[in-house]
């Protein structure tokens, strides 16, 4: 990423366009939560179901929690949020659920399997293209943030998430706003699959989260666009009602919402909740 000033510039554009400064300390963020290092009594296995886009940042936070609680083993299952919600509804034994939009969490809330889920981050979409940019996607002249329609070449092969999953619901809204509903050539089952197809160079462009662009490093170029800045997904997290290890679950949720967690999320490209 650092060797690609153009991409970094666009990334900065998106982030600044969102009206919040990444890395701002939220007022009153407590350093000493129940998740504080050395907290006794957090042992056993903690199972976290989390949206695919949280893969990298949650893995880091999980290791931190394990380091602070040597008796604890943290296990993750990363998948499309809809699949995770379906798993919880089918009785999958887990302690924490973090989804990529509120609609999927609402399904679980309606079934009274989670209560008091809170939004801990937001994510916006960017247009990712292969690192060698075969179609020469470029910012149009004249400055300002372009529309998605100005960025995507007419005959480009494009991957987006399937409308059944959160990033796809967001992509559909963005495509409609840009007048590009006919543009996609494939609807992938989660956002990482879209990213992979861009990285492999099998599609000319894909809609992925800002955080995915961060995790992809030099392997893709990314462009921010107006419609993406206007529409964002909220990521809620909650301890499940039937959690076998609710104490550890709460500790993980507290860690994610702590100053440390917010910083890790910001570093990974997530935006703080509004």
């Amino acid at each position: 990423m650092r060797r690609r000033p153009a991409a970094l510039l666009v990334l900065g554009l998106v982030l600044s366009g969102c009206g919040s400064t990444v890395g701002d300390a939220p007022p009153g963020a407590a350093e000493e939560g129940p998740a504080g290092p050395g907290d006794p009594g957090i042992t056993g296995t903690l199972t976290v179901l989390a949206a695919a886009s949280l893969t990298d940042v949650f893995a880091v936070l999980g290791e931190q929690l394990e380091a602070a609680n040597p008796q604890l083993e943290v296990r993750f299952s990363f998948a499309g949020s809809s699949a995770l919600a379906a798993q919880v509804l089918q009785g999958a034994p887990a302690d924490v659920l973090a989804t990529a939009d509120e609609a999927q969490m609402a399904r679980v809330e309606e079934a009274a399997l989670v209560e008091g889920a809170v939004v801990f981050a937001e994510n916006a979409l960017m247009l990712a293209v292969p690192a060698d940019n075969p179609d020469g996607v470029a910012l149009p002249g004249g400055g300002g943030t372009p529309s998605l329609a100005e960025l995507v070449p007419a005959d480009a092969t494009m991957a987006v998430c399937a409308p059944e999953v959160p990033c796809g619901a967001l992509s559909a809204a963005v495509l409609e706003a840009a007048g590009l509903t006919g543009a996609p050539d494939t609807y992938e089952d989660d956002v990482r699959a879209v990213l992979t197809k861009v990285q492999l160079g099998e599609v000319d462009a894909g809609l992925v989260y800002v955080s995915d662009v961060r995790s992809a490093g030099d392997s893709v170029l990314a462009f921010g666009f107006r419609e993406g800045i206007a529409a964002r997904n909220s990521f809620p997290i909650g301890v499940l009602e039937d959690a076998p290890n609710a104490a550890a679950g709460q500790a993980f949720v507290d860690l994610v919402r702590s100053e440390e967690g917010r910083q890790a999320l910001a570093d990974a490209g997530f935006l703080p909740p509004r």
């Binding site: 499309g80 809809s82 494939t186 609807y187 992938e188 089952d189 160079g201």
Partner: protein, 267 residues
């Protein structure tokens, strides 16, 4: 002759596990039928995309089976009859897709036939042809996964066939190609048919390689298994209805083919 009736009676130690196996295999299908929202069946079936996905599934599985027959039967002959060295290695190689996770197959297809792939990039440069995200990609993915079933089945039939018929044909002056066409092929026809049915069923159910290599687009690459998987994420009832349709189509086809063509060879 007096022992013959005894041979068909199931010994008790086999009966219990066999019954458990039946329950294990049939119960999930029963569960599917019990949970089917029969009252919504019509509405769910009329939903946009269902007919499209079903048609695409049937067409692509049939094309994949045709392609497998065209290429797989000759390969089976080579494996069964040729005495060339390296035959064992060859057999192991071509049956790898049987044990390979289909998603891995999809990735491998990308690396060869994708736009950046070894063959795919050449196709793109020379002819402007790109394969991923097209119905062609669906057929290729299904063929990759399903052809080994046909090859194994036909090879088995060829090994079991009585070689003396071919010898006689040769002594009567038939060339090797004529012998294959007029003697060998009719001899192993039931095995070929059984292999084709297995191959078709495997192609119809293909998921991993298809969603990886061909992507997911309604009408072009979204086959029934993909539609079921994605429906499950939003509307479980719709997924159940789609599953029942797929189950019915598979059963109907197998029964029909068995009665019409396969005779005792498959029954």
């Amino acid at each position: 002759m007096s022992r013959a009736p005894d041979r068909t009676r199931v010994p008790a130690p086999l009966l219990v596990p066999a019954a458990l196996a039946v329950v294990f295999l049939v119960l999930p299908l029963g569960g599917l039928l019990v949970r089917t929202p029969w009252s919504e069946l019509g509405a769910q079936l009329a939903a946009p995309g269902v007919g499209e996905a079903l048609r695409l599934s049937l067409v692509s599985a049939t094309l994949a089976t045709g392609l497998s027959l065209l290429l797989g039967v000759p390969l089976a002959w080579v494996l069964a009859r040729s005495r060339a060295r390296g035959r064992t290695v060859l057999r192991a190689l071509v049956t790898v897709p049987l044990v390979l996770p289909p998603v891995v197959g999809g990735v491998a297809l990308f690396l060869v036939l994708g736009r950046q792939g070894i063959v795919g990039s050449w196709l793109d440069d020379a002819f402007g042809v790109t394969i991923p995200f097209t119905t062609t990609a669906v057929v290729i993915a299904e063929t990759f996964v399903a052809m080994p079933f046909l090859v194994i089945s036909v090879e088995g039939a060829l090994r079991a066939a009585d070689g003396r018929f071919e010898d006689v044909a040769a002594t009567l002056g038939a060339g090797r190609w004529t012998t294959f066409r007029r003697v060998t092929l009719p001899l192993v026809a039931p095995g070929v048919a059984a292999g084709a049915v297995l191959c078709w069923a495997r192609a119809l159910g293909e998921f991993g390689a298809t969603i990886t290599f061909a992507g997911n687009f309604p009408g072009t690459t979204q086959t029934m298994p993909l539609a079921v998987y994605l429906a499950l994420q939003r509307d479980p009832d719709a997924a159940i209805v789609l599953s029942v349709v797929l189950l019915a189509v598979s059963l109907a086809t197998l029964l029909l083919l068995r009665d019409r063509w396969l005779g005792r060879g498959f029954a």
